[in-house]
């Protein structure tokens, strides 16, 4: 019991502490790929610390929702991230939410963020919020359909059991799983506001989405939102790793050494995911906002196709 509690606590703290590192790592790799030296991988931590020590400049027109929203976004994202198995499966509280609940929790975060963007009453907040919900209205159904695909293969929506099912030797090579992987990557890119859907490095461009929503935030509120964004990136990377590459996850009741191995495997997977993301962002260009529905439509169709295949035959 104590060990289980410790594992769960470790998981929660580890995702929180390491989330900015992944963001910093992606930025670092991107800079190198562009033949820049770039900031250190620890730069996001320094940014957070600096933001925490700055006073908050609060717009006069904001209401209580504007001040509460950063904590809401942060906590919903953190809980979602903590429910995804990173280095070990079947954690103490893993039964409190399945994959559908995790996705819906991210939806809660997004709902609050989009409302907060409208709260101050600026046109930038409106444009960001409006585009965010347009992207979400395609990304979320796509994600649900992809979850259906995976759940039909594994026979459950519980992530630990999905990982176990993917690991089991009876699974074999599945077309639907490959479709789901592509769809998942597309949705992850869109949901994390990465190129080609949105550009995390831009400001004051009419094409931006996420940055436009948080334009009026400053100080500790901005720190919470940045941390939530980093957590979301880590969560999606861990989710894809957990579902499509569950090797190395420590089973329940493992020894300390086995858990350490799980940690190392997870760190390796995150490094691979970060490098792949940086590489992808370097070689593609950002697309126009109204091309994004086509991009996400692919993910939705892949999810539908995967689900249909599994409704037709359980072995596809």
């Amino acid at each position: 019991m104590i060990q289980a509690l410790a594992e769960q606590g470790t998981q929660m703290m580890v995702v929180l502490v390491l989330a900015p590192l992944l963001t910093g790592y992606v930025r670092c790799v991107k800079a190198r790929l562009q033949r820049r030296r770039g900031p250190s991988v620890l730069q996001p931590y320094r940014d957070l610390q600096r933001l925490l020590n700055k006073e908050v400049v609060l717009p006069e027109t904001s209401s209580w929702l504007f001040r509460a929203a950063p904590y809401g976004v942060f906590s919903a994202t953190w809980v979602a991230a903590a429910l995804v198995p990173t280095f070990a499966t079947n954690l103490l509280f893993s039964w409190s939410g399945d994959l559908i609940a995790i996705i819906a929790l991210l939806g809660t975060g997004r709902f609050i963020q989009a409302l907060a963007a409208l709260d101050v009453g600026t046109s930038f907040g409106g444009i960001g919020s409006s585009r965010e919900v347009m992207i979400a209205s395609l990304a979320e159904p796509a994600l649900i359909m992809l979850v259906f695909t995976i759940a039909l293969i594994a026979g459950t929506t519980q992530l630990s059991d999905i990982a176990a099912a993917v690991l089991s030797p009876t699974l074999g090579l599945r077309v639907s799983l490959a479709l789901a992987l592509i769809g998942f990557v597309i949705v992850a890119i869109a949901e994390n506001a990465r190129i080609p859907v949105d550009n995390p490095a831009t400001h004051l461009e009419l094409t931006m989405v996420h940055e436009a929503m948080v334009l009026e935030y400053s100080g500790r509120y901005l720190a919470m939102i940045d941390l939530a964004a980093a957590l979301k990136l880590l969560m999606y990377a861990s989710l894809i790793a957990c579902v499509f590459c569950p090797w190395g996850l420590a089973p329940p009741g493992s020894t300390l050494a086995r858990t350490g191995l799980g940690m190392a495997a997870w760190a390796g997977k995150m490094a691979v995911a970060g490098t792949a993301l940086a590489l992808f962002e370097t070689i593609v260009a950002k697309m126009r906002v109204f091309r994004v529905p086509d991009f996400l439509g692919i993910a939705l169709m892949l999810g539908l196709l995967g689900t249909l295949l599994l409704f037709v035959s359980r072995s596809l």
Binding site: L58, F74, W95, D119, G121, E140, L152, L308
Partner: protein
Amino acid sequence: MTVPVVLGCCAGLLLLAVAAGPVARSRHASPLIYGSTGAICLLVCIAALTGGDDALVLPVGLPWLGAHFRLDRLGAVFLALIDLGGTGASLYAIGYGRHEPAPRRVLPFFPAFIAGMNLVVVADDAYTFLFAWELMSLASWALVMADHRSADSQRAGIVYLLMATFSALTLLLAFGLLAAPQGGYAFADMRAGALPPGRAALVLTLALIGAGSKAGLMPLHAWLPLAHPAAPSHVSALMSGVMTKVAIYAFIRIVFDLLGPTTWWWAVPVLTAGGTAATLGVLHALMERDLKRLLAYSTIENVGIVFIGLGLALAFRANAMPAAAALALTAALFHAFNHMLFKSVLFFGAGSVLVATGERNIERLGGLTRVMPVSAACVLIACMAISALPPLNGFASEWLTFQTILVSPALPQWGLRLLVPAVGTLLALAAALAAACFVRAYGIAWLGRPRSACVERARETDRFSLAAMAGFAALCVLAGLFPGLVIDALSPAVQLLVGGRLPSESGLPWLSIEPSADRNTSYNALMVFVFIVGAATTGWVAVHRLGTSAVRRAQLWDCGYPGLGPASEYSAAGYAQPIRRVFGPLAFRSSETVMMPPPGDLSPARIRKHLHDQAWELLYLPLCDAVLALAELFNRFQFLTIRRYLSFVFLALVGLLLALTLWQ
């Protein structure tokens, strides 16, 4: 003893309705009538929750039939739902009713409306059922026409009256088919008789049309977005939150109970109609600027979700899969209950906005959170619940529906196997679009800066209205945190209809819910809630410990362009534009024309958008045209000479005699 109590309460409500007419002008009439209505509703609600099954035959109505009343577990569930909604609406109306310009047009019909809905649920023969159904329809029609001078209300009234008549007619035919040829109009006789497959399919179609048009299924929904908003807001809440549920009850009663064994393909029209209504309903809501019409369209979406659950339950029942059917039916009933809760709060909120500002167009609102903080908080909870966000109740029922779809590959029929994933996509789309819709509705109407002067005058609404809103918002949270209790309360009704039930949830550790015993899938709203609160608190404490707590109030930054007026805020139409561009061409055949003045011309550029309500244009307008053309045709027979008329009579006589000879 339950049925006599319910009937006594209905009689009390009808007496109130009669008494309300003469005293309506008095200042105390409105609180008195609404207060008594609320108390009676509460009594019926308690009776339904605590009482057992019961039946009663009264010697009124048709002489050879009498009036049969019966309360079973299904009826009890819906009775509790109706009267909980009625209690809330009455409580809200104690405050809201004071602003009613013509109380005589509302007060008598409100108790009658609730009595009608209650009687539908306890009726146990076709005659009583249809009588109560018509009482419900006519009372609600009178309430829709409360503001009878506005052209909108008149149009809503005539369309509603037509559709209500049509729906009653189809139900009448359905009961006729069920009763024939022995003429057993009591439900017990109908249950006992078995129908040939063709006739049973006809009954299903008629029930789907009759109940579906009352519930607002596409494309029979045309009256709903007109009539629901036209009524006073507490009546809108009742019509959207409760009356659509009575229609759902009628469908369940006829198809699951009276019709006997199920055939698998019955699920196909139900699923298709449900999926279409869910997606198109919410898309219409997204395009709407009128706050109450937006909510009415969202009702269509939620009814669609309930019908998806019912369709899946039919499919599983036909294939003798009671556990899966129980899951589907529980999801549908749970969602119906949830929708009653959050849609009531949303309509109450819209009513409060209407009273405070006199405005229903969200383009002219904004910044209401600052003047109406408590209402704003309640409406926010309802918006989050209807958007299916955890840990609130809307998510719990949608989660169950998704779990139902995940057990559907076990269905043996190919048609269903191909249809269910498509319906699943529509459901997922509807859920995501609902979140977008309510971010828009709440963000534009309640947040931001005031867009017109009407907001400046606004005040927080009265304490009765606040109590009703806060009570229902709290129920949304409670039903979300403890879904297991609701599921267990629904399980006797589910057991009755599909012969199976979900495993008992209240015994599970930590109040989780698990949809089935053999699959290791669970959801624990309470835990998620505790985690969220814990994480937010941890974050708050840590941030204030590690950093500074300093706050400076300053002007908007707005990317370096401060001082722009509220006209620079995003409008509701602008907010929905990206979604309109994505879904509009398919759903509304939408198009945009930009009129750009030539260089040097100082006139403003204009953008005009065209949306088409396809159901209206493809179904109703051609129908109206056909009726009109037919009327024109018959009009010619109106001005003939007596010779012609006599010759018609003669010809008809000859024709009939000829037919008679040939027949024998």
